[in-house]
C-alpha cells in the first residue's frame, strides 16, 4: 500500500495503473444508494486523490485505463 491522499491508503494495483497507462477512467459506484455512478477522468494520482478525498464509506471504485477500455484490465476497489 502506498499513500496518495493524506487520509487514504491506495492499493498498489491502482498506483500501477496510473504509472503504466494514464489517463484512467474512474467510476464511483454508490451501491444500493438509489443513485447512478459518478465518473471522472484522472491524468495522475494527484487528480485521483482529490476524487478520493470526497468519498465516504460504502462506495466501490472501478478504474480502467482509457487505452484498455474494452479489455479486462479493470481494478476494483471497495471502500
Amino acid at each position: 500500500m502506498n499513500t496518495t491522499s493524506a487520509t487514504v491508503n491506495v492499493p498498489a494495483a491502482v498506483l500501477e495503473l496510473f504509472d503504466a497507462k494514464p489517463p484512467v477512467l474512474v467510476e464511483v459506484r454508490f451501491l444500493r444508494m438509489g443513485t447512478p455512478s459518478d465518473w471522472f477522468l484522472c491524468d495522475d494520482e494527484r487528480e485521483f486523490s482529490t476524487v478520493l478525498d470526497r468519498l465516504g464509506i460504502g462506495v466501490e471504485i472501478h478504474l480502467r485505463s482509457v487505452w484498455d477500455l474494452a479489455g479486462i484490465a479493470e481494478v476494483i476497489w471497495k471502500r
Binding site: 454508490f30 451501491l31 438509489g34 443513485t35 455512478s37 465516504g56 460504502g58
Partner: protein, 130 residues
C-alpha cells in the same frame, strides 16, 4: 396504487438524463427508495451526498403503477448509506421470476434487459420533486 418511489439524480441544465436510470452489470434491479414522511427526500439526498456523490442533486418520483405495469416485482433490500433510516426504505424493482428464468435460458444478463426495456419507461415517467 398511489405510492411512489424515489431516486437521487444529478440535474444538468435543468434536465434529468435517461442514463440516471441505467443499471450496471451484475445488478438485478434499479436501486430506489420508498417515498415516506420520514426520512424525507432531503435526508435521502444528504445520505447519498455523504457517500461522496457529486453534482446538483435532486430527487425524482416514479409511480409504483409504472413499475407494476412493467411486470416488475418489488424487493425490499437494505440500502448502502450510513443512514439506517434511509437504508430501511430501500427497494429494488426486479424482473419477475419467470422473466428471470426466461432471460437465463437465453443467456441474457438481467441488467441488459432492464436497460433496454425498463430504463426508457422509468426515465420517461420520472418526475422531479422540489
Amino acid at each position: 396504487m398511489n405510492e411512489e418511489f424515489l431516486r437521487v439524480v444529478v440535474v444538468r441544465r435543468g434536465k434529468v438524463r435517461p442514463t440516471e436510470f441505467r443499471l450496471r452489470e451484475a445488478e438485478n434491479g434499479l436501486s430506489l427508495f420508498r417515498k415516506v414522511d420520514e426520512p424525507t427526500s432531503t435526508e435521502i439526498i444528504d445520505a447519498v451526498r455523504a457517500a461522496g456523490k457529486q453534482g446538483d442533486l435532486a430527487v425524482v418520483e416514479i409511480s409504483v403503477k409504472v413499475i407494476v405495469d412493467l411486470g416488475l416485482r418489488i424487493v425490499a433490500t437494505k440500502g448502502g448509506t450510513l443512514n439506517e433510516a434511509v437504508n430501511a426504505i430501500h427497494i429494488e424493482p426486479r424482473p419477475s421470476l419467470w422473466r428471470t428464468i426466461w432471460l437465463k435460458l437465453r443467456g441474457r444478463p438481467i441488467h441488459m434487459w432492464l436497460n433496454e426495456f425498463v430504463t426508457p419507461r422509468l426515465a420517461e415517467s420520472a418526475r422531479l420533486i422540489d
